[in-house]
Structures are given as C-alpha cells and as structure tokens.
Subunit: 352 residues, 2 copies
C-alpha cells in the first residue's frame, strides 16, 4: 500500500533528500567517514554550514546585516531565548496569541519582562486571525506566529509596524516568497519544511542585539553564537546536513516561487474539496486559511472515527486533528506531492 | 587506504550502528516511513525512548528514584541548566576545575549563585587531578568532569562526599562499570561514547529538584521534562534513535564489563608504547591517565608537524592535540577497535 504522510511535523521529506542522507551515513562527501563520525570543525562540515547559510540568504534576499544560525531546542527554546536576549523590565513585548504556539511564546516571555497580547482570536476558537493590532507605547518588538500549525491559520499579509518584527515561521518557512526583510528575527524548527528534527534556524538582524543588560548564559546568547559562526559548541551535525540537503532540493526544484505554486495548488484542491463536500466543513476564515495545515471537521462529529479509520486503512498518515482541537488536520508541506493530496480528496469524495 | 578515526567527538561509531541508522532512514521499524519523517508521539518512537531509558537504567543499576532524559544543547547547555535548576543565592556550587570543560562549568554556574572551585590543577597545566577536596560549609552540590577530554585526565575514584554529586560524563559515559548511584545527576553529550551529536542524556535523582525558587523557562526545567517523559517538545528524533542503537550495541557486546576490558587493553597498549618510545612523552600523572583520550607530546616539539603529516598520510584521523594544549591526542572510545590503536602504535614505532 502506498503511504501518504500528512504528519504535522516531523513531516514528509523529499525522497532524494532521504537517499542522500542515508548515503552520507555510510560515506560523507567521499571522506570515507560517516557524517555521524566527522569532526564539526573540519573543513567538510564548516562548508556544510556555510552553504546552508548562503542558500538561506538567497531565499530571503538578505545581506550581511543578518546572521543565520543553526541552534537546538526548537521553537520552545526560542520562546524563552528571544525575550532573554531582547526584553527587560524597561521594555514591552507585544505578542500575537492566535493559537497554541503563540500562547506558549506569551508565557515564556513573561519571565523576562512586560508582555501585552495584541492579537487574540480565542473569542472564535482561533478560527481566524485578529489583524487589528494596536501596539502600546514603548513596544520593544512584535512577535507573530506566521502559521498556526494546530489551528490552521496563516498570516498572508504581515502586520505593518514600526517596531522590530519577530516571526516564528516553524511551520511555513520557505513555503513561498515573502518579504523576509520586514523581520528582524525569524526562527524555525527544521522538522516541517526544511529538514529533520534536531535543529532550529535563527535569522537575526545583528543591530537588534546588545540592548539588554541581563547576563546571558553562553549557550543562550545569540551574540556568542554569531561570533562563533554557529559553532559555539558541538552542533547537531546530521540535522544541519539534512537541512542543507532540503534547502538544495528547494532551490533545484525552482526555489520559493515554485514552492508557492505547488503549495497553492495543493491547498486549493483540498479546500475546494472540503467546500464542495456535503459531510465536511472548514470553519477557518477564508482569508486566513493556511496553505500548510488544513483544519476541518465532519458536520456529524460522530462520524469522525469512521473517517479516521478509513484514512488509516488507506495509508493516509497523521490526519487526526490536534488533541485540543479535534477534527481532521491535513499538513501539506513543501515535500508533499499533489498526488497525495489528490488521493486524500478522492478518499473524501468516496466517503458518505 | 584504511582509515582510523581517533576524533575526540563527534567520534567513531560501530559499523553496525551506522548500517542500522542508514536503513532506518529508508524504512524505520517496517513502518514504510523514514525515521526522519515519523511523528515523535507515535507508539513507534515512544518505544524508542522507553527502550533507551531502560538500557541506561540497567547499565547504571538505578531504579525509579532516577529519571533518564534525552535533551538538546550538549554539555554547554548543562553548564547553565544544572545551576539554573539547583543553585540560588542561598546555596554554593563546589566545582572541580581540571580543564577546559570544568572551567566553562564554573563560569556558567556563577550566573546563578555562589561558586567555589574546590579542585584546581592549573598549577601543573592540568596534567593531574587535584583530588584533595575540601567542601565549604553549606555546599549545595559538587560538580566534577569525570573525564577531561582536552587534557587527558580521568577520575578513576570519585570523590567521597556527603553532598549531591554531579558528573559531566560526556567523554567517558559507559566506558566501564562504575558506581553511578554515587551521583545525583549525570549528563553526557552523546557524540563520543553513546551516539551521534544532537542529543544529551541527563540522568537525575528526582529528589534533587524543587529546591530553588527561581522561575525556570519550560524548556530548561528538568521537572517539566520529567513530567513530559522526555517529550516536552519535538525531541532530536534521529539522534535519540542512534543512541538507542549504540546502547543496544554496547549491551550485545557484553555491556560495561566488556567495554572496560577493551578500553583498558587499548589504553595500556598506547601508554606502554609512548613510555617505551625515545621520542615521545606523556606528562599526565600515571594514576590520572584517561583510558578515553591519551594526550602526549614529542620530546622535540619541532618534529610534531612531521609526525602529524605522517599520521595524515597513514589514515590516522583526528590526532592533533586541542588548540590550547598542542601535541598529540588519541581518542579511543568504545567503538574504537584494538586493531586501530595497534596500527597507530606501529606507526609511532616506525617514526624516528
């Protein structure tokens, strides 16, 4: 049976990335050693980090005013690392809380300084994005979750603000061309659109740093990572390499323009199928629907298990909604082929 | 040419671990999915974490009073995470500073409370371990680096103390049977003796926690990781799997007793070769020599590059000493076969 991997993350990767990753475990770069056995300060691995940085800079069209870092700990680490480096008692973090991950960002930021939630969509169970932001006087930065993986919403126009903008792009990084330069700091766990679990990309405008007085432990200090060129200590070598392979794949396939074309096509097919189907509904506001994660429901909730069983039997993996939301969630990251979404839609259309 | 991988970390892994890791990138556990694409909360991966924990508990002969965690960030993260969770202004961290890594542990701990260095071997360039410890009144815990990777020393008898003992075992974890129960917290980056880079094992006696009032960010809070069973957020899935494969390999080969036998044999061969050789010397105190990392020098330093060139031509990888120490360093972790150490000794014996 052919499997269709709709996991929300860790998620589907291109087959050629998997083949190259497996080959490098036997023999990396013709060194005769495994990628798991090489020193992280060897020229071979330093070149991996450098190439990955350069592809990211090309995708984002950014220059040396930014630094690209490959760190550990995922978005959950960034929820605290961002305010630890940027926020103190004299500042104010404005945060958009439009779902599970934004909410965690709020909680962690409060440990480091004042926080104001400037966008809250909980009145309608996060089925839309509250885009009427009012930033308080003295706002230090605005933090948004560009794609809400759990709730199925995505910012298609970023807020226009005159304070530094910080984006958690974990679940929609490089899904389309966008104005990355609007952001002063972007972070993304790699395990959805740009690799495997175990590495977190942080892209940071260097001028943002050095404004809080707090003493920051070395491993959490962006400045120290910048000075060390992402090699402050032993980095997650293999995960960084898989990210490089995935970045190369995106570029070779046609870059972000091509990714958007594919992602738009998949999302249009799925949302149209839901709209046309008598048994399903998508409660997400049309203009805020995510092209990465579609969240939808059966009109008759008692039929949900029957549908999920059918999915399981048909090789559709990872389509059960997040535990706090329920329903169905179909994740369609860059590596997901249109044919898999088509197969899922066919299954929906045969369900009655 | 056959390669001999003496890297200090990331380091040599058993060939069968590499083969199994590569196979799982194509098809993990017969799921039809790659280990890089599976959800971390699936039964397949939860079983990986659980089996790895159980092997660790068998190796350490510890029960449920301890918890085994698989975290990220390496020892550098633990240098700050340990004091953040255990030390405050009312306490005192006693730390053994016998080299580069102990020194970093001192620096990071100072951000969280009072610190006293109770063992310092810098008077003799860290060529020995200062074992005459005097713990000040009110010591909260004693932190030791059980093996000094850079300097080539290793604690063969742990200090007898009546305060909680914390061990950074990054470079000698599971190299031999030892009384792990003497420790209240043990941590180790996996990339030397128990896997690939990207995961850090933390073994912690649960009764140690909850004694400081500081608010701890979720991702740095041991208690929260314990409650979440090492799955607080997306863990480094692949690196944890490689650790499981390595732990299984150790157990299958005969466990820690067999590892000690092999490591002792390799170390004895190498140190004896150095001692007998007219051109080399090892300045490390005999009773403190590491069975993992042998650090030694040419009597005539001007011949060092010639010897290093010969090593390179002969396929001996990673034998240049650490930049602050110089000389030669040969790392002989669990997966290193005696035949590689023999080949290195043969090369030394032909060098004149």
């Amino acid at each position: 049976m052919q499997l269709h991997n709709f996991n929300s993350g860790p998620a589907i990767l291109p087959k050629e990335v998997l083949d190259q990753a497996a080959a490098a475990i036997h023999n990396f770069n013709n060194t005769g050693l495994s990628i798991l056995e090489i020193g992280h300060r060897t020229s071979h691995f330093v070149a991996v980090v450098e190439e990955a940085k350069q592809i990211v800079k090309r995708f984002m069209d950014i220059g040396d005013e930014y630094e690209v870092l490959f760190l550990q700990g995922g978005a959950t680490m960034q929820f605290m690392q961002v305010p630890m480096n940027l926020l103190d008692e004299n500042g104010l973090a404005a945060i958009c809380d439009n779902g599970v991950w934004g909410n965690k960002a709020v909680k962690e930021a409060k440990l480091f300084g004042p926080v104001e939630v400037v966008s809250d969509s909980s009145d309608k169970k996060h089925t839309y994005l509250n885009k009427e932001l009012e930033l308080p006087q003295g706002t230090t930065y605005l933090h948004i979750t560009t794609n809400n993986t759990v709730e199925g919403t995505q910012w298609h126009q970023y807020p226009q603000v005159n304070v530094p903008l910080i984006g958690d792009m974990s679940s929609d990084i490089f899904c389309r061309p966008t104005d990355f330069k609007k952001f002063d700091l972007i972070y993304a766990g790699a395990q959805k659109n740009m690799g495997a679990a175990g590495v977190t990309m942080v892209v940071i405008k260097k001028s943002l740093l050095g404004k809080v007085n707090r003493k920051i432990p070395a491993i959490l200090d962006y400045q120290k990572h910048i000075e060390a060129g992402s090699l402050l200590n032993t980095p997650p070598v293999f995960s960084i390499y898989v990210s490089l392979l995935t970045l190369r794949w995106i570029e070779k396939e046609g870059g972000l323009v091509e990714m958007e074309k594919r992602n738009q096509e998949k999302a249009t097919l799925l949302y149209n199928t839901i709209e046309a189907h008598p048994l399903f509904n998508c409660p997400i506001a049309k203009e805020d629907r995510s092209i990465m994660n579609a969240v939808f429901f059966l009109n008759d909730a008692s039929k949900e298990n029957e549908f999920l069983d059918l999915c399981k039997k048909s090789g559709m993996i990872g389509v059960k909604g997040y535990r706090t939301v329920g329903g169905i969630r179909v994740s369609m990251y860059n590596a997901m082929p249109l044919s898999s979404v088509q197969a899922f839609c066919d299954l929906m259309n045969h369900f009655s």
